[in-house]
Amino acid sequence: MQKKRLVNIILIIGILSAFAFPKMAFAISEAYKENIYPVGTLKPMDSKLKVKVGDQAPPFTLPSISGEKVSLNQFQGKKNVVLSFVPAAWTPVCSDQWPGYNIAKDIFNQYDATLLGITVDNIPTLFAWTNQMGKLWFPVLSDFWPHGAVAKKYGVLRSNGVSERALFVIDKKGMIRYIDVHDINKRPPLEDLMGALEKLK
């Protein structure tokens, strides 16, 4: 009897785990050839947010791949800002996120918003990686040193030193209006972000 129960429990755990860790689905662009490192399915979230909707966005200044330093406060009073943290260069889902934003410039403009792409990679890595995406219209910032300091400030630095796949919408007054710390294995649907920007109007 005991044995039967054990078998049942093992079966149930097996089945539940199959649901808890579904195979990661993504479509890799041929643009990256064989250069995308397979990371497998990761723990969906691995950090604790330190900010919430309604807070003033923590200020930061980071170097960008174009050589200029970009500060959050330079957009205050001028533009809404979307921060797009992606975990790492040369990984599957990240490589197919910013190229989509790259053709959505008109929609960002429509909401008077700019986009800042951020990873914890260093500038040369970001330069090489984003070159595969075509010419990006938005700044790409490196939160490499002190390592992941900005990601940490927002509470999206994972325990292995990469950031979450997270989106923050910050209005012209510098207030956080939307946060999506997304399952790291999945790309956030564009309509969710645009829906958040629509609400700023």
């Binding site: 089945i15 041929e30 643009a31 053709i103 790309r187 649907p189 564009l190």
Partner: protein, 191 residues
């Protein structure tokens, strides 16, 4: 009795998972094979419906398209090469539509791997894409097609008796509209 019930539920769940996994292919569709199961919604847009020779609503399968050959592009709005190739693929559509001999024989559709309807619409609008595009938000079709990289092109030959086979597949490497049309016509026996 209760134990039997629990065991049955467990076994049923287990088999349903096996079936679910079986629907994901290990490799992309190959030349000579039939297509994997791909169900697409009949377009709401009457022009697109008429282009594909479909009527009504609900779902359809690619071989039901009224044509001798169908070109399928699996793309993603997030894919840089799909973006780069988009004007050239539009040109392919125009070459076909402007040629009275093949206009009714060759049709072109796109399937957006992992793209929502909104994302497909952004892609369509950005590149003024004149042929029907279908979202595959949950990667269902992408999985059935062996999780191909994008863009992935397939040419499907539809026979008189309603059977079909894949006569050409190609990952990226889009050679331009003229060369690709030539290849489509040759492989599908239209030339």
């Amino acid at each position: 009795m209760k134990k039997i019930l629990i065991s049955s539920v467990v076994v049923a769940l287990f088999f349903s998972i096996l079936v679910f996994h079986a629907s994901a292919a290990n490799k992309p569709p190959q030349k000579g094979e039939a297509l994997p199961t791909i169900n697409l919604p009949v377009p709401k847009n009457p022009d697109e419906r008429s282009y594909l020779g479909l009527s009504g609503s609900g779902l359809f399968k690619i071989p039901q398209i009224k044509a001798k050959a169908v070109i399928v592009e699996i793309f993603s709005m997030y894919c840089p090469y799909c973006q780069k190739d988009a004007p050239g693929v539009n040109q392919l559509y125009r070459l076909i539509e402007n040629n009275a001999d093949i206009k009714d024989k060759v049709k072109l559709i796109g399937i957006g791997a992992g793209n929502s309807a909104y994302e497909v619409e952004v892609f369509k609008k950005t590149y003024n894409i004149p042929f029907p595009l279908f979202p595959d938000k949950e990667f269902t079709i992408h999985k059935a097609c062996g999780e191909v990289r994008t863009p992935y092109f397939m040419v499907i030959k539809i026979n008189e008796d309603g059977t079909h086979q894949i006569v050409h597949t190609q990952l990226g490497d889009y050679p331009g509209a003229e060369s690709f049309l030539e290849l489509v016509l040759k492989t599908s026996g239209l030339k």
